[in-house]
Symmetry: C2
Subunit: 332 residues, 2 copies
DNA sequence: TCATTTCACTAGAACGATCTAGAAGCCTGA
DNA sequence: TCAGGCTTCTAGATCGTTCTAGTGAAATGA
């Protein structure tokens, strides 16, 4: 029904403009070596014919693809923010992004293979779940940058946020408000749950405080469950593993008739869109995901274009104080 | 530092196996025309060398790419669910997906061009914002399927949910519970806000009820603002434009000291992950996004492989009753 | 027995770009 | 006037596949 006409090639443009294929190629990629007059003539002909270079052919010949592969998980809403930021930075550096989604039915390696097939010159993996060895195998083919996870071995680059420092700031913030009975609802088996857990323990002990830790997870449900188990001796402040868990916790506290932050202060982690919701206004530790994403893109581009060895970039998070943290009630 | 060795080609495998390039090609693509013994020999050699076909070269030669372009918006969390479902269905049909993100700094047409550059044989656009004319222009090149929006002209396929029927079900549900004073907080200028608004008006009038409509939007803030403006004569039930708006509304009602659903019933739209949160349990109209996504993929594949004309698929949504809707208090 | 078909395989031309090497034209300076 | 050096342009090879049109050998049929 609909007529799918053959798309014009370099040859067509060359004939229309009365020059050689090679010259059209030169003009199309903006390379030096064409007179201004012919350049205009060729561009005119190309526009006339609606010519668009065929990237497959182009990529086949020139080893450069100017393409960065980015894998993200559809299960994590905040990955979308990272994708956003990565697009912006890649575009600024003159690169295009190939996106690969990791879903429950589509494991990470499958996604990576697809990204490589598209011709990605480097890979940026958000919180990769592969082992260091597997990552190293891919790193033998193209530069690989792990985002938000840093225990990836020496062959893989990483850009991450300093979990210890984040937790330290969280404790600092609450202690300076006057809290002493602080609980950490941890992330269970989630990525970076362990470093945050041990950072909490170390930091509390350093201050001579009791490091109470409750098993949690990355989702609202985990926060609720943990919140319900707080019952007997309620702390005056809680540091959740992340914002979503914090939300569940707040809901549980509400159900128990407790006010946040009057009765209990709650601190999230990630400064995600959940924390920023106007009716939530959750105090949170920001990893500045967009900045990290930009750094990861920079890193990938540097690896592609330079000859520097893999490295690990660690950025310092910062605290965003909103409405869920305050000084404890007198005598808390 | 890291040694990026040249990847093996068909030629390398051919030499290792002692056969011609063409035969290796036949074996690699599983085409008929090779003896079982040689097939095994070739596969062995390929495995040995770690050969992976170069998709760029492959795609250049064979016009088929088996690639579907899917554009989604990073601003809409539920697009992630659609991506999930689309991956599954595409994979089942033997296609790969090329993802393109639409962000604030990256308009839809830019994303589409990138998807075409990757060699997409068809495009699936989630809630496209382009005009019918612009869509038609792309539809002249490849089949284009609009997902969740159906006013896209005759050259573009569409797969969408019946908004009228969705709103009808919403009203029906509330009326059958005993509600008569029902308000619709609309979606403002969002996609499908208008059809839902007029469906609400028509359906309420058909039942001899007053169709009260309040200006809203697609986000939590819009629901809160609208909720705060309800003040004077509070209805017994509200149909929000979507789940996020419903969440904001619920928050506003809470702040006003009203209980949901005891004082006011709230119905969302989309049955998104927000509605399913265990502490929310929002009653909602489900568009069954995953099913729609699968249908869109089917449609795209059918268009690619067959010669049928563009068409519009409309599916019926269904109601998911959870904890935010109930009979009104006596005398409500 | 010999023509015909089938099967397994191959040589070489595509695909649509880029890249290399070199040619033609014009300028410059001695 | 001519060597040398630009600038502008072109022919042809090339990237790694798939496709077309075969070839040769074995199997089949009358």
């Amino acid at each position: 029904m609909t007529e799918q006409q053959r798309r014009p090639t370099l040859m067509d443009v060359a004939q229309a403009a009365g020059v050689s294929r090679a010259l059209v190629s030169i003009v199309m990629r903006g390379a030096p070596g064409a007179a201004e007059a012919t350049r205009q003539k060729v561009l005119g002909a190309a526009r006339e014919l609606g010519y668009r270079p065929d990237s497959r052919a182009r990529l086949l010949r020139s080893t450069r693809t100017k393409l960065l592969g980015l894998s993200f998980s559809t299960a994590h809403a905040f990955h979308a923010e990272i994708v956003d930021a990565a697009y912006a930075e890649a575009s600024a550096k003159g690169y295009e992004l190939a996106l690969g989604g990791v879903t429950s039915g589509r494991p990470e390696d499958r996604t990576i293979e697809a990204l490589l097939d598209f011709g990605s010159e480097a890979l940026i993996l958000i919180s990769p779940t592969l082992s260091s060895d597997e990552l190293a195998r891919y790193a033998g083919q193209v530069p690989v940058v792990s985002l938000l996870r840093n225990d990836v071995g020496e062959l893989t680059d990483s850009v991450s946020s300093d979990d210890y420092e984040g937790i330290r700031m969280a404790v600092e913030h609450l202690v300076s408000l006057g809290h002493r009975r602080i609980v950490h609802i941890d992330g269970g088996t989630a990525v970076s749950a362990e470093p945050r857990r041990s950072a909490f323990r170390a930091e509390m002990e350093r201050r001579g405080l009791e490091p109470a830790i409750i098993a949690g997870g990355a989702m609202e449900e985990d926060g609720m469950t943990a919140g319900n188990s707080l019952g007997p001796d309620m702390p005056t402040a809680v540091i959740a593993f992340n914002d979503r868990s914090a939300l569940g916790l707040i809901e549980s506290l509400r159900a128990q008739g407790l006010k946040v932050p009057a009765d209990v202060s709650v601190l999230g982690y990630d400064d995600s869109m959940f924390a920023r919701l106007s009716y939530v206004q959750l105090s949170s530790i920001s990893q500045d995901a967009p900045l990290l994403a930009a750094a990861a893109v920079d890193r990938a581009v540097a690896r592609i274009e330079g000859t520097q060895p893999p490295g690990h970039v660690v950025r310092t998070p910062h605290l965003v104080a909103r409405r869920t943290t305050a000084a404890p009630a007198a005598g808390g």
